[in-house]
């Protein structure tokens, strides 16, 4: 009796050992071979899917500038494209051929064209002004050396500089004299100021000549008079197409001739158009059109209403035009 019990015990124990080995190796291998969809449980795939009917633009052309890193882009009245990358500025004709290339000595994170067709560059803490041939006209340090210029906009008599580090918009005259500081945190009016959790802070001048500034931390577009007074604003927080999600979106913005806003986002990488009141209008490029890890899509609009997207991940200027139908 005792003997039988002993042998049954041995058999059970051996069975448990073998079952344990099989079980544990199964578990490891099945977990390892699990398809990523099931294993990566945080996903925003649902938000990446966009109904094709909502995409109003289509990609028509790509230009690949010979740069390792791309930073900023602008388009002038003749549809020439200005791209900054590495430590240079390259100018392309509308056909996409490089016309010239200018060595800057430093990285220019943003570029813009003034109405009188001068090139304004933001070189870290310095604003530089060139004529269209690339000849240096003047330059000035934006307020302090701690400044990090992420965007410049130039009007007829004013130059607006977005300083992400100090969370302020600086207004200069074309000669580089500081006129005023716009949008600072104001305890009296309980205005929180610009909330800028990462180095994305964009501004632009609309066709009516008003200044629009993105307050990315609040998903807000703020409209200022040239005297620095807040005129209007709209805010859209949403993960879906209606608005902007995450901590700091949109990262870039451009304004169409009719006053609509073209926006680009990080995290959920997409380019959309909102009408002047902030209502979502159409999608230019859906998240699935960008590579994993894309961030920092600078935008420009040409005279034909085409939308130019600077895609640093693939190193290309991608041009989107309205769908014909």
């Amino acid at each position: 009796m005792g003997k039988i019990l002993t042998y049954v015990g041995i058999a059970l124990a051996v069975a448990a050992v073998l079952a344990g080995i099989i079980f544990s190796s199964n578990r490891t291998s099945s977990a390892v071979n699990k398809p990523p969809e099931a294993a990566i449980l945080y996903n925003i795939d649902d938000y990446k899917k966009v109904d094709p009917a909502l995409i109003g633009y289509t990609e028509v052309r790509q230009i690949k500038p010979a740069f390792r890193e791309l930073y900023g882009m602008a388009c002038d009245a003749d549809d020439k494209i200005y791209v900054t990358g590495d430590e240079q500025l390259a100018i392309f004709d509308p056909a996409g051929d490089e016309i010239s290339r200018i060595d800057l000595g430093h990285e220019a994170k943003c570029v813009t064209l003034s109405p009188d067709q001068l090139i304004y560059l933001g070189l870290n803490h310095t604003v530089a002004v060139l004529d269209r041939n690339g000849k240096a006209l003047r330059s000035w340090v934006a307020e302090s050396e701690s400044a990090v210029i992420t965007s410049v906009a130039a009007g007829e008599r004013d130059v607006f500089v977005a300083d992400a580090m100090n969370k302020v918009v600086l207004q200069y005259d074309p000669a580089g004299n500081l006129l005023r500081r716009i949008g600072e945190k104001d305890p009296e009016s309980e205005r929180p100021g610009f909330i800028i959790p990462s180095f994305y802070f964009d501004l632009a001048i609309d066709p009516d000549g008003f200044l629009w500034v993105v307050n990315p931390g609040l998903h807000t577009f703020e409209n200022y008079t040239f005297e620095g007074k807040l005129r209007a604003s709209w805010r859209k927080t949403a993960f879906d197409l209606e608005g902007f999600g995450g901590c700091c979106n949109p990262t870039h913005m451009a304004i169409l001739p009719d006053g609509s806003f073209v926006t680009s986002e990080k995290g959920l990488v997409r380019v959309k158009i909102h009408d002047p009141t902030g209502q979502f209008r159409t999608v230019v490029a859906a998240p699935n059109q960008f590579a994993e890890g894309t961030v920092g899509l600078d935008l420009a609009v040409d005279s034909r209403g085409q939308i130019l997207v600077l895609d640093p991940k693939t190193g290309m200027i991608r041009i989107f035009a309205k769908r014909s139908s």
Partner: protein
């Protein structure tokens, strides 16, 4: 200041005003720099807490405890001849090295760290781990396997749960005992190629000391404990790779535990006292073969051993493809290759991660090819080793060495001291001590 333009056709030269370029070093973007929030309420950002790991001092303390425990056990086994004291040491080891020091490394596992340190140029081994490997070997070289008796927590736990051990037939013990060599060979191969630490992965008792692990491993551990109730020290006898080294050391040991404190009277009382079957019995006077037959057989075997080594090496070197799957790089390369051939991408998290890293597949394949070549060489060595072990085993089984006493088998004896109380001489000795 002026610099050449990249393309000949872009003729424009641009000289930036010098004043803008003061402090150009400060311009370099520090990746940690970002627009920080400015707190007006005087809020201070707390630091990230970093609880320190177990200190090196405590690691050395463990080495010290190991050495003291080895010394005490050796004293209890060889000098004091006290089974009870050895049992108490075993309880101590299970509690200290097992339940209290639940982490690694143990002497058995350190075998792999040493293999890796010997064969992988970029692997560094901490000194305490090396001490855990060397100290038991040195002790065994002088006092026999007292480490196994009560210091090794794996051995001790099996010893303590051994309630109803069944005797294992001699031939079965020999055959099962060979699996230790196979396990040793594979463990060293996988450690030396940087593939895996097999001994740690399939450590049967660590999940009990830690009281947690995945379900399969718990089942495996419980099974091993249950088996240890009926089969004396199954892991030590049939699997433990470190035991192979200890066995070799023990055969050369200067002193060793003896069954009798005096000389053996061949009273046969101790004959079944060892549940591990580690007692060599006196042999019959008459040899089963004549001297000439024996020599001829030995000669044949001696010729046969190199053949076994060659066959083993040749065969195992062709296991390179199979065995190298154990290496994460090779297994990833195979998955990527399979995906490339079937036109799928990102079917597993591993391949998806690799593809998004931007490393060209060719680099991975080249690396995997190099690892596979190492497995080819490792296969030769492993197969040769196994051929040699089996050959030597056969020779050992063909040499008829006569003996007239009951003696512990030096390679197999764990110095647990169970046999002491079976010897009438021992009782006499204790009696003498009491009277004295």
């Amino acid at each position: 200041m002026s610099r050449a333009v990249v393309r000949p056709k872009s003729w424009v030269m641009f000289i930036l005003l010098a004043i803008c370029l003061i402090n150009s070093a400060a311009l370099a973007q520090d990746p940690a720099r970002f627009p920080k929030p400015e707190f007006e309420s005087g809020y201070q950002q707390p630091p990230t807490q970093t609880p320190p790991p177990r200190s090196t001092g405590r690691e050395w303390m463990d080495v010290f405890v190991l050495a003291v425990a080895l010394g005490l056990t050796s004293y209890f086994a060889l000098k004091k001849r006290s089974r009870r004291a050895i049992w108490a040491m075993a309880v101590f080891s299970v509690i200290y090295f097992g339940f209290i020091r639940e982490g690694c490394v143990c002497a058995v596992g350190s075998l792999q760290n040493v293999s890796a340190a010997l064969f992988l140029s970029d692997y560094v081994i901490p000194l305490t781990v090396l001490a855990f490997f060397v100290i038991p070997l040195i002790f065994t070289l002088f006092f026999g396997r007292t480490f196994c008796a009560a210091v090794c927590p794996l051995g001790a736990v099996q010893d303590l749960v051994m309630v109803k051990p069944v005797p294992v037939a001699g031939w079965l013990q020999e055959v099962l005992g060979l699996f230790r060599y196979v396990y040793l060979g594979f463990a060293v191969l996988f450690a030396a190629t940087g593939s895996a630490f097999l001994i740690c992965r399939y450590d049967p008792f660590v999940s009990i000391f830690r009281m947690g692990n995945d379900f399969g491993m718990m089942l495996y551990s419980i099974g091993f404990v249950a088996l240890s109730i009926f089969v004396a020290r199954p892991y030590c006898r049939f699997l433990c790779p470190y035991g192979v080294l200890l066995g070799w050391m023990s055969q050369l040991s200067k002193k060793h535990l003896t069954i009798t404190p005096d000389s053996c009277h061949v009273c046969r009382l101790c004959e079944t006292s060892c549940p591990m079957g580690a007692i060599d019995k006196p042999t019959p006077e008459k040899l089963p073969v004549t001297r000439e037959q024996g020599i001829r057989r030995l000669g044949v075997l001696l010729i046969f051993v190199p053949v076994m080594i060659a066959i083993g090496g040749g065969t195992f070197s062709r296991l390179d493809v199979f065995l190298s799957k154990m290496h994460p790089t090779v297994s990833l390369a195979e998955k990527i290759d399979l995906e490339n051939r079937t036109g799928t991408a990102g079917t597993t998290v591993e391949t998806l991660t690799f593809r998004s890293s931007g490393t060209p597949a060719e680099t991975l394949f080249a690396e995997a090819g190099i690892i596979r070549k190492r497995f080819r060489i490792g296969g030769w060595l492993l197969g040769g080793f196994l051929g040699l072990i089996l050959g030597v085993k056969l020779i050992g089984l063909s040499i008829f060495r006569t003996s007239t006493e009951y003696e512990p088998n030096r390679a197999a004896c764990f110095s647990c001291g169970r046999c002491f109380s079976y010897c009438p001489n021992e009782h006499q000795r204790l009696e003498n001590i009491r009277h004295y």
